[in-house]
Symmetry: C2
Subunit: 92 residues, 2 copies
């Protein structure tokens, strides 16, 4: 099973890294940029595929890959192909 995990700062949380990139883009010929928010993207390749595995993956997303206080994560099963077959978003 292949999954993509996206971890990004919650809407209410300041993102100074994103603001720095936004300012850089404005200075480099793109004054139209309104906002930039930056997160992490992970491609995870796991052996097997069942509900228990997915549950454990979600637990690891919460406990290891993201900081639930300031970040949201999104776990997307891709099954090898580069498409978002099923988006599961967890708001904590």
């Amino acid at each position: 099973m292949k999954v993509n995990v996206i971890v990004k700062p919650k809407e209410a949380v300041l993102d100074p890294q994103g603001n720095a990139v936004r300012d850089a883009m404005r200075h480099l010929g793109m004054p139209e940029v309104r906002s930039v928010r930056i997160g992490k993207y992970m491609e995870i390749n796991v052996e097997g595929e069942d509900a228990d595995l997915e549950k454990r993956l979600h637990r690891l997303c919460r406990d290891l890959l993201s900081n639930p206080v300031i970040e949201d994560y999104e776990l997307v099963k891709t099954n090898g192909a580069r498409k978002t077959s099923a988006i599961r978003k967890k708001q904590k």
Copy 2:
């Protein structure tokens, strides 16, 4: 226009950060993990929408947001909704 940019290490490039996360996941109750690769995820909100803007966005992705020597980027227009309406992948 809203775009998502994903920047990730090229296949041939080592990803020590990903390997560290893979080992951590294996130790934290998921021995099935085969590999983890880690990249960046950016949500960019831009005023307006036309071909020239998109061209300039691609140039900035190449020049500012990614390092084309070791990274690939993917620019996806989302138009506000959380779906991947059109995937454009640039291999360099």
